[in-house]
Structure formats: C-alpha cells, structure tokens
Symmetry: C2
Subunit: 220 residues, 2 copies
DNA sequence: GGCGGTGCCGGGAAAATTTCACGACCGCAC
DNA sequence: GTGCGGTCGTGAAATTTTCCCGGCACCGCC
C-alpha cells in the first residue's frame, strides 16, 4: 500500500476549489488526484471510468445535487467512499449526506489539517464529521427542532415543497387533483406542525433544513 | 514593473479556496500573494499593514460581509483595487459590489483563465465583469425586475427588512411606533410594488436580490 | 402664495384567507 | 371487527388582507 498511491476523484463545480484541493492533497505523500468533475453526472461517469479509492464531493452543484450524486454512486458501488466537503455548516445537510451514504462531512471553513485527517479517516473506513457540525447537530437536538421530513406526512411534505417552489394554492390543487380548500388545510396543518405562524418563518425554516436551497431561487 | 511583482491580498473564509487562488496565481509570473485574510476585519487590518496592489475578495464571510468590507477599504484608500470573486451568480450582488467600489466581479464557476484575465484587467485599472454575470444583468433588465431598494420608499424598505427578519406585524408596529394597521398597509404596498402576491414569493425575491442572505437564516 | 405631486399615517368596509370543528373514507394492525 | 392514523372535503367563524378613503407634511414650480 505504500508503493501504490490512494486515488482520489474531486467533485466541485468551482475550478478554484478543485485547484485548492489538488494543491493541498499533493503535499501529502501517498495520495493522488486522478480525476476532477464539475457536476454530479460527470462525477458518476468518471467514477465508473477510474474507480477511485475516495471521492471528495461538494454538495451544491448544478444539475443533480451532491446528495443525489452520492446516492447514485453508492447504488452503483456499494463500497464507494465519499467524503463531503461543503460550505454548508448545517446539520440537516450533514444528516442527509450521511443517510445517502457519505463517509464523512467536513465544512470548507475547516483548516487544511482537518480535511487531510478526514481524508485519511475516510480511506480507513471511518466516518469523519468535522467538529463544527458535531456542535450543530447537538444544538439542533437541544433546540428540539425536528426535521420537517420526519414530522410531516408524505402528503404534507409534498404540499410543502410545492408551496415553496410553486405558486398559488389553486395551482397546487390542480397539479395534485385536490380541492383548493384541502391544500389550504394542509398548508395550515404544516405550519402548525412545524411551529411557525407565518409563511416567512416557514420559508426560513425550510432553508435552514435544506428543503429549499438557495440555488432553487433563481428561476422564481 | 517587470522586476517588482504586483502584490495581492486574498480574502476568503475558506482555507481551501485561498489555497486554490494561491496555486493558480503563482503560476502567473509577476504576481505575488503577500497576505491572506479570512474575514472582513482581518482584511482591513492586513490591507493597512501590507498595502497590496490588488485585493481578491469573497462576498459571503462571517462578521462583516464582503460588500461592507469593500466599502471600508475604499473609504480608507480611495484607490484600492478590489476584485470580487464569489459563488453568487447573482446580478444584484454584482451591482452592490460595484457600487461599493469593486473593480470587478467574477464567479467561482469561471475557468482559471477568466480569473487571471480579470486580475490583469483590474491591475490595469479596468472593470472586469465575468460573462455569466453580464448575461444575468441583461436578463434581469429584460425581465423588468427592478431592484427592490429603488422601487420602495425608505419606510417601505425598512418594513420589508423587518418582515424578513423579525416576526409579526404587531411587533414591527411596536418597534417602529406605528399602528399595526399601517404596517399591514405597508406590507400590502410592498408586495404590490414588487409584483408578488404571496409572502413566499416575497422571501424568494428578497433572497434573489440579496436583501436577505442565507447567512442571516441561522438564528431564526 | 397657490398648486400639483409624492410620501407617510391610519380608518372603515369589503373581500379573501386562515383557522377550526366535523364527517367520511381507506388501509392496516391487533 | 375494532381502533388508529392518514387523507379528503365542507361549512362557518375568525382573522387578515386588500382596497379606498382623508388628512398631514414636504418639495418644486409657476
């Protein structure tokens, strides 16, 4: 194992960030970056092509997001090791990523040592969570803010996503073949269950929990 | 000018990104990174200390944001050259940055050549805008989506910010010493002027325009 | 000074929405 | 079968939102 370097696939839509990884990783002996992808689809293709020992992946990317990309990679190779390295200092994202099959979750604000440590841990089969996210996780538990997805029924969650993404109550009713009245009732029930009183709080909660990402906002 | 390298100050809260800049810039002869800062305050201190020829600055940072940091730097040194390099592919941010005194605006998704080109342009005193933002600017004009700040009166804008940040109509009325009725009327007028019909759309618009940043969302 | 335009503040009533209580259906577990 | 939870819809009350109004102050202009 000392003669053959461990191979790494970088996935990030920002060229400068990939350059940063590369620069940091090549200082470490025994690691070799063999490929780079800038979105989920390319990552999937290059993974199949190169079969790296580890994938370092960002979450926010155009097209299919990082979470979905993790899911697909793990579906194709059950033993794929994927380390999430992202700017989102958000426990909800970390939980989603780990559930999808990530081997670790490190924020970009972390010092280089933390990343290198996480890379080594991940390669050794361990789960690596950066300290700030550990802290976040503890906090969100203490605050009693349960994940919306756990609290709501499937139907309610679907309506919630549509409320956030789509437009009026009537349009949602049409799409879901429901009475506008029922959609309004669901809307009310959702706010009740999530403990918010206004739509503005609802959107903020959704953003915190990663149900709505700021990337979705562009096309209104 | 060929014997003395042009000096650069890097400002970004992500260590890996600074590493990426450094790696990319050192390939270019005649450029020298002399300092790095991870937030606005540190950037200000280091600028005064080192007096670089150019600052490369991210926008989203803890503490004082990038826009405010630009403003302060320019206040201290009217001729400071500041190149914004950010993930936000958002025309509104670009406009704010340029107004604050930035010499250019490049997105992190841009290829390395674009960054280098922008650096050279900025050092030469030119304004550099990356093509995707140019496109965004054109689009937002075509779509007729005017900046909220221009459309609203001072009072309306204040209420808008409070609606986004604060809580109920009554609380805002208390803080501003207004009748709840007036706040409700303002709220209605704001939505009318901005051309949205629901609070959810309002929040989305605010996020697009950078009135509310996702960083503000943490503490609810 | 007189006169329009605009922003600011709030009232009142109509209109729309939200909330609440209720009933019914369905699938599922016990 | 019975109970339970999720789903869907209705209607009526309560609240909020919207619309229209008048009053006030300020400003530029003739």
């Amino acid at each position: 194992m000392s003669d053959t370097a461990r191979t790494i696939l970088l996935v990030d839509d920002h060229a400068v960030v990939r350059e940063g990884y590369r620069s940091m990783l090549q200082k470490q002996p025994g690691l070799s970056v063999i490929a780079e992808a800038s979105d989920g689809v390319e990552a999937y293709r290059l993974y199949k092509e190169t079969g790296p020992d580890l994938v370092i992946m960002d979450l926010s990317m155009p097209g299919i997001g990082g979470i979905e990309a993790i899911r697909r990679l793990r579906q194709w190779d059950k033993r794929a090791k994927i380390l999430v390295f992202t700017m989102h200092q958000n426990a909800a994202f970390a939980v989603q990523a780990i559930r999808a099959g990530a081997s670790g979750y490190v924020t970009k604000t972390s010092p280089p040592e933390t990343l290198l440590h996480a890379v080594i841990d991940a390669l050794a089969g361990k789960i690596a969570i950066s300290p700030d996210i550990d802290h976040e996780l503890a906090l969100s538990h203490l605050a009693g803010e349960r994940a919306a997805a756990d609290l709501l029924t499937a139907r309610e969650f679907e309506v919630l996503r549509m409320l956030l993404a789509e437009r009026t109550t009537d349009e949602i009713a049409g799409t879901l073949h429901l009475s506008p009245k029922t959609v309004a009732n669901l809307h009310s029930m959702i706010k009740d269950k999530l403990g918010v009183s206004s739509d503005i709080e609802l959107v903020r909660l959704a953003l915190r929990q990663g149900i709505l990402t700021q990337i979705d906002l562009g096309e209104g």
